[in-house]
Symmetry: C2
Subunit: 569 residues, 2 copies
């Protein structure tokens, strides 16, 4: 079938594939809700109005119809599963399109990682647009598995599923006119250019925006969001697993500015995707808090399609894909039926199609710590140390200065004060590089936890009470090809293998979620008081988010944007 | 200068070119009005906020600053002057960007006509985007100077000033899936696709939209505009010289839908550009009628930039061109100062820069009627004739059926009943083709008027009381290389030469306007009661606007979309 058939169907000359009768359409373009029939043919909406006949006809009896939801910015890797499994989680929730930044897998596997995601997307049931990862590695203060320069990204320009350049996390570099950053900005000048500039303000923020950046999803306070919106950035309000920005930012939204606001999830663990949902969860929260439903739906669909120039998405009007939701109630936003491309793909929260067997793809070994000594001894060179201070439910940290606990001339974990040893082991190139530091807030009383998920370089992170537990945890992951592990001395309490790049499981998301819950319980049995210590740990190496982080190069003072000594002289 | 300098300026490390202090900024993105400084460097806005120093600093003392206005759809040829002269008319009014469809000149000169406009735009002071003309000729029921197929338009795809495909006037062809139309739509699928479907409704309209069309500027009634907006078309509300749609369509606009509404002028004669203005005139009218000024300004700037994907236009925020207006009062929307690319180009309605001498371009002879007999005799083949019924201030006509005045076996003009002879002489290929008919509403008591401006084929149109006056008028234009003329018998009362394609003068717009006024007075001295008989005549050959029109092929019944006999049997 082709456009010729669609036009014949729209003219009413041939039978449509599907007619939805008596739909209460939420028209996100005209801003109205009204009763109409919706005619669908060859994957597209072809007509609104009366008098169409369909091979299949469904009487909606006045139920609401909205566009399929769109996630403006998500790292699918945070779901720990492959794109088809991610799709199984979010499609029944009503999310039919995502714009994803594959920079986790790209940091491990380079362009091959981006192609892995594009290939898996092709076989999934979600419309998945893949932004070209702009900051691989995020900075020079880490070792990643790959380095992507403008020339490496150039071939992606012609890919129909690549709408632009992903979050420009090297915000100091962009604002300072770093040559590599400007090359990438110039290459993608006519495309979407996503930002990432947490807490940036004033003149430096002006420079960042003047470079051409178009969006921001890192706002955590109202004042920050207001300043950024005024400078012309489209604000992607985020409700991730760790980063819960929706409720604090709701007062930003007005009828006058909401067309420059979109919704995104950024990073969500399997449990949150399954229990809470995705963009649908944000809509429920926003509407419950008093946001007009049509405005909320626009921010969760149309605005995002428009921002990214996705002209066939985001609205139920002729010429666009028939990605749409049927709901009995707009306020309790639960999709009863989810259509994608005119096909009913989910009903009452359940996927209708079977899980498809994906074509096996190359899975290069990605955990290669080689001859790293795994000796985490820290000879004391002073009495005062910098300590990463975790902040509950945030990816930012505090930059603490504490007295060290010194035993036999070495700085060691201090369980009483919850100051634990933290190691970041380079795992891509077997360089033997290991960054060492201390962290407060994880609460382990014994043992260690470790993972190969550590944004964005995804080196091997270990937090532990004693060196032998830490060594055992690191070795377990190195031997197993990556994943998460909790150990108590030599004993492995729980593990979750992530064989794809040390980031993703190929198991069904429900299994991964159950395994993940076991991991959290194991960490809690070791004393951790955090709701999700593995997620928290995964951001403790992210040196583009303030204030103090640890990479394989050592401690990074994000505000000074340089590696600093563990010991304060 | 480059992006590197702009970022340094934004960071406050070097002096900016210009700082506007104490501006009351109309922020079209956040929907707010507030006081701020605006820093400009290297043609761009680089920063909003305090603490910037400028080589030039202007204290605005709380005056309003808005984005430069954008005309969403205009045929510059209707101004009868070249792009630099058009710019002189609209820039002091605050219009800094136009999206133009050069299909008038393209119908005469083909791709060379489009290149003429692009070349003239390059030397003008207006940001002029040129849509690729989609319907040259408009239909097969006329002879034009060129025929542009998809293959002819393809080279324009790579031009940075060509945002998309111009108004798809062959709306029956689009809705019916005409192969040539679909080829062009496919070629420009990722770009802007402008519509033109006057009075189209229901299933055919659904098909037209399903083909991918994105905008509509032909709405004349509220019901029509509502139906089209609901189908997802961006509505360009138009206020041309003849087509005055703004006031009737104002009730369409709501806070909920206005981001899908833009303003355009389509066709404006020099007098209206000079006396009333352009988009600024629309803003004044809209605001006076009660539309919120920020909403009105959005429809006249930001919405249009966004619709066409012009990411560096339409808002005063960092990274965009410093195209902005300074006004003491938003309601009486008269720009006191107009900046384009950070340069003050007009002040108090007066252009500051001198008229620049344009590089001479090839001007191929474009009026070639060859051996056309110019014998306008119409032997009577019946007693009843179809008559084009003009409608004041509209380009639509009525399809009248009247008894013919027969003299000596021939149908002739009937001054008493204001039924005048109307001829359309093919002027591009010397084919000798002449269409003959009658028209009501021009009111001439003697003589004839003629012009080589006749949308969209721009053949030579003549309306007259007697054949010898008509012949004299046609010959005057053929000899003079095109333009407008009014004759009384053999005597030429007034003429306006339009040597560029028979459409444009290269004289200053003030002179053209004075000449044009003389033309209208001459026509009125012949008895015409129309406010502008030449403009009205120029649309009487446009066979894509209902109901009855005349081309060189003969009378066209637009609703049946076919050539019909003058005589009703």
């Amino acid at each position: 079938m082709s456009i010729v058939d669609r036009l014949a169907a729209a003219r009413g000359e041939i039978e449509c594939d599907l007619v939805l009768r008596d739909a209460r359409l939420v028209n996100v373009i005209s801003g109205e809700i009204y009763l109409t029939d919706i005619a669908v043919h060859d994957r597209h909406v072809v007509a609104l109005g009366d008098g169409y006949a369909g091979a299949s006809e469904v009487d909606l009896d006045g139920s609401y119809v909205t566009p399929g939801l769109i996630d403006a910015h998500v790292h699918i890797e945070s779901s720990l599963v492959t794109p088809p499994e991610f799709a199984r989680a979010v499609l029944p929730r009503g999310v039919t399109t995502v714009i994803t930044d594959p920079h986790e897998i790209a940091n491990v596997l380079g362009i091959a990682g981006i192609h892995y995601m594009l290939e898996r997307a092709r076989r999934g049931q979600l419309s998945m647009f893949v932004m070209a990862s702009s900051c691989v590695p995020a900075t020079r203060m880490e070792t990643s598995g790959a380095r992507l320069e403008a020339a490496d990204l150039a071939p992606l320009l012609d890919h129909p599923w690549v709408p632009g350049l992903a979050e420009l996390m090297n915000y100091p570099g962009v604002a300072l006119g770093d040559e590599g950053m400007l090359d990438k900005l110039a290459l993608f000048a006519d495309r979407a250019l996503d930002g990432h500039a947490p807490a940036m303000t004033g003149k430096r923020l002006n420079a960042y925006v003047a470079a051409g950046v178009q969006s921001e999803h890192e706002c955590t306070t109202l004042a920050e969001a207001r300043e950024k919106l005024r400078l012309g950035l489209t604000i992607f309000i985020r409700e991730g697993t760790t980063t819960r920005n929706l409720l604090p930012l709701l007062p930003l939204i007005t009828p006058e500015n909401h067309s420059a606001i979109c919704f995104c999830t950024d990073d969500r663990v399997p449990a949150d995707l399954i229990d809470e949902g995705s963009i649908d969860f944000m809509l429920r929260q926003a509407i419950a808090a008093g946001i007009d439903p049509v405005m909320a739906i626009r921010m969760g669909s149309y605005n995002t399609a428009r921002h990214f120039g996705l002209r066939k998405y985001g609205a139920v009007v002729p010429g666009r894909y028939a990605d749409l939701l049927v709901l009995p109630d707009l306020r309790d936003f639960h999709a009863q039926q989810v259509y994608r491309g005119g096909e009913l793909v989910a009903k009452d929260g359940i996927m209708l199609s079977q899980r498809r067997q994906a074509r096996p793809l190359d899975r290069p070994a990605s955990v290669n710590i080689g001859g790293a000594s795994l000796d985490f001894t820290i000879p004391a060179r002073g009495e005062t140390i910098r300590v990463i201070g975790t902040v509950l439910d945030q990816v930012v940290t505090r930059h603490l200065v504490e007295s060290a606990r010194i035993v036999k001339g070495c700085a060691v974990s201090d369980v009483e004060r919850d100051i634990l040893k933290f190691a970041m082991i380079e795992r891509h190139r077997a360089s033997g590089k290991v960054g060492l530091g201390f962290i407060k807030g994880f609460g382990l009383q014994r043992g260690a936890i470790a993972g190969t998920v550590a944004h964005d370089h995804h080196n091997l992170a270990v937090i532990g009470v004693d060196d032998s537990s830490m060594r055992a945890a690191a070795l377990a992951l190195a031997d197993g090809g990556g994943g998460l592990v909790a150990v108590d001395g030599e004993r492995i309490l729980a593990s979750l293998p992530l064989p794809v790049a040390g980031l993703l499981s190929e198991a069904p998301i429900e299994e991964v979620r159950a395994d993940y819950d076991r991991m959290v319980r194991a960490a809690q049995s070791l004393g951790s008081s955090l709701p999700d210590p593995f997620m928290a740990m995964s951001f403790m190496g992210l040196e583009v988010i303030p204030c103090l982080k640890l990479t394989d190069h050592g401690l990074v003072d994000v505000e000074r944007f340089e590696v600093v000594d563990l010991f304060v002289q």
